[in-house]
């Protein structure tokens, strides 16, 4: 296990300069590309002196490296800058909106993993037979239909034809949100003992999470299936078979485990698609999360907001990838040890 931690440490060390590079990239882009954020911040009717004041407040009157330096200074004080869209510190926004997105992505990831496992295993077990072909068709559809199209389709179906799931927001109307304890509304509902609210939130999450998960699910199901088909013909499977280990055990142990490694590896990419697609899906379902906030700051050219959104997503992505690496290293002992 120690080897794995060393490996993780290495990964983190490698990723830090990348994230710093990312911060420079997006910071420079946000300041260099044409735009007048102060004007946006001031509102439509503000006089010039107000705009100047805001420009000063945003340090836009200073050279860009000075701005970047102060960005770091502020960051060390826990301040990601003033949002011209929400008119408060971006830090507050991140704290407010991020948990909702994480919670949604988490559920989507659960759907994705369970769905991919189920479909992939069925297809692998019955390779080249009807279930396999059905899964293959499903997988191609899953991969080809963009998540926002899924989102709209579900909305169409469930909003009008089968009004089973809500298609908007996080709570039913009139629900008073649970007191903010962790920021994760599901958790908060449980902590404050409001099971009905918990159920209500979960109920609101199902469609967006499902729409979000489908693409990645299809992708992973395919990879698991391919892995199983490939591993079935491996010599090491022939060996355990030759020594009389029953087929069930061979399948669920000696074939499944190696088939999961490539799937988990690809999951890093899948997380990227979840994080990216969350932008459209949260917009469609009006999910009060970080991605919808991201769209809004982008549409309003809120430079500090944009920088924060990109970086926070970069960090989440990095963390997720490291988790994926750890899981892979756990599944495949060769990786962690080779690295050390």
């Amino acid at each position: 296990m120690n080897a794995i931690w060393k490996y993780v440490g290495k990964r983190i060390l490698y990723i830090i300069p990348t994230l710093i590079g990312l911060s420079i990239l997006i910071f420079v882009l946000s300041r260099v590309l044409p735009g007048d954020p102060a004007r946006m911040a001031a509102g439509p009717n503000a006089p010039d002196w107000v705009i100047e004041q805001i420009r000063h407040q945003l340090r836009l009157d200073k050279p860009i490296w000075v701005q970047y330096y102060y960005w770091w200074v502020d960051l060390f004080h826990g301040d990601l800058g003033y949002s011209i869209y929400t008119k408060r510190s971006v830090t507050v926004d991140v704290i407010e909106y991020l948990p909702a997105s994480l919670q949604l992505i988490f559920l989507a990831a659960i759907f994705e993993i369970l769905g991919a496992l189920a479909l992939g295993i069925i297809a692998g077990r019955y390779a080249y037979r009807l279930p396999d072909n059905m899964v293959r068709v499903l997988a191609y559809i899953g991969i080809s239909v963009p998540s926002f199209v899924w989102g709209l389709l579900f909305q169409l179906v469930f909003a009008s034809l089968i009004p089973l799931f809500p298609t908007h927001g996080m709570y039913s109307y009139g629900t008073i949100p649970p007191p903010r304890i962790t920021g994760f509304s599901l958790l908060d509902a449980l902590l404050s003992g409001r099971i009905d609210t918990f159920v209500d939130i979960l109920w609101h999450m199902i469609l967006p999470a499902f729409a979000l998960s489908l693409g990645a699910m299809a992708q992973d199901a395919r990879i698991i299936r391919a892995g199983m088909v490939e591993n079935t013909e491996k010599e090491h499977v022939a060996l355990v078979r030759a020594y009389g280990i029953p087929e069930r055990t061979i399948f669920s142990k000696y074939i499944l485990k190696p088939s999961l490694v490539p799937a988990v590896t690809v999951m890093g990419m899948d997380i990227a698609s979840l994080l990216g697609n969350a932008f459209m899906v949260e917009l469609i379902y009006q999910w009060p999360g970080f991605s919808r906030y991201g769209i809004n700051v982008m549409l309003n050219k809120d430079i500090n907001g944009i920088v924060a959104v990109v970086l926070v997503i970069g960090i989440i992505f990095a963390i997720a990838n490291i988790i994926v690496d750890v899981v892979v290293a756990y599944l495949d002992p060769r990786i962690g040890r080779r690295a050390s």
Binding site: P146, V149, M280
Partner: protein, 291 residues
């Protein structure tokens, strides 16, 4: 050695006949080819295929707005009274154009940078290129593309530029990996010993080994670029109306769900159709090169 010679040699190394034979035997690949070709045909000949070509431009006919699908308008009409089918056919044009522009910019850039980075893996130039590529890959491509687009004025051109900016590192990475492994092979040593130039080694000895992978990726990427472009325009940061962009059409029509479902549903299916086609085609090419 002229570039033309190198090129013809590349073509030779592909062994088209053999690949085609392998490709042809998979029905899924053939379906992919047919779908992809059909979208290309629709895109190229849109003005002749679309029943109402003028509806792709500045056209309004409010009296015939929001008509459900009928024989006259197979996909119905939108809130402007424009034929959704015609606009969808033109939509392929913009989607494929986007893919073409982006990939034309990105593939050579990414490939050359990847070759250099892989070839000079131990030197600062190789490390620098890969470090920069890592920065662009550190965030899901859609997020960075959205940010860049949002900082510019929304237009199809800016969307293409933003997507291109996000996309080259994937080719750089691909070529870097292939180059790094191929570099150790004997034929590269042999070429080096005989005094071949780095240019020669990169393009004549190493690159042909990556052709299959690059071709596969390009094909699959047609679908992904279209998806990314559609996502950008879905949010409103892509092509501008009245350009019949599929993503914009979906987003605009979404306002009228569920009553006038056809306005967004058909363009949405069209996006899925293109992506499906190029996915199947890409997988087919991959199998042909690997199998």
């Amino acid at each position: 050695m002229s570039f033309k010679d190198i090129f013809s040699e590349w073509i030779k190394t592909i062994e088209l006949g053999k690949k085609w034979y392998r490709f042809r035997r998979s029905p899924l690949s053939m379906i992919g080819l047919i779908i992809s070709l059909s979208t290309v045909v629709m895109a190229v000949f849109a003005p002749w295929i679309a029943p109402y070509p003028t509806h792709a431009g500045f056209f309004t006919d409010f009296k015939n707005a929001t008509q459900p699908p009928s024989w006259q308008h197979l996909f119905g009409t939108d809130e402007f009274g424009r034929d959704v089918l015609s606009r969808t056919i033109f939509g392929f044009r913009y989607s494929l154009m986007m893919a073409a522009v982006v990939l034309t910019l990105v593939v050579p850039t990414g490939v050359i940078l990847g070759l250099i980075a892989g070839y000079y893996r131990e030197r600062w130039i190789g490390k620098l290129i890969m470090r920069i590529a890592d920065i662009f890959i550190a965030v899901p491509p859609l997020v960075l593309a959205l940010s860049v687009c949002s900082l510019l004025t929304p237009s199809a051109f800016h969307a293409m530029m933003a997507v291109s900016l996000m996309w080259w590192p994937w080719y750089t990475r691909l070529l870097y990996n292939i180059t790094s492994s191929v570099k150790e092979e004997y034929f590269v040593y042999a070429a080096k010993v005989t005094g071949a130039s780095s240019f020669h080694i990169m393009f004549k000895e190493i690159f042909p080994n990556a052709m299959g992978a690059v071709l596969t990726k390009v094909t699959l990427d047609v679908g992904w670029v279209i998806l990314l472009g559609a996502s950008l325009s879905f949010v409103g940061l892509g092509a501008q109306p009245p350009t019949p962009d599929l993503g914009t059409m979906v987003a605009d029509g979404a306002k009228f769900l569920p009553d006038y479902w056809w306005i967004s549903l058909f363009p949405a299916l069209a996006i899925s159709y293109v992506i499906l086609g190029f996915n199947l085609l890409g997988d087919g090419i991959k199998d042909a090169f690997e199998g």
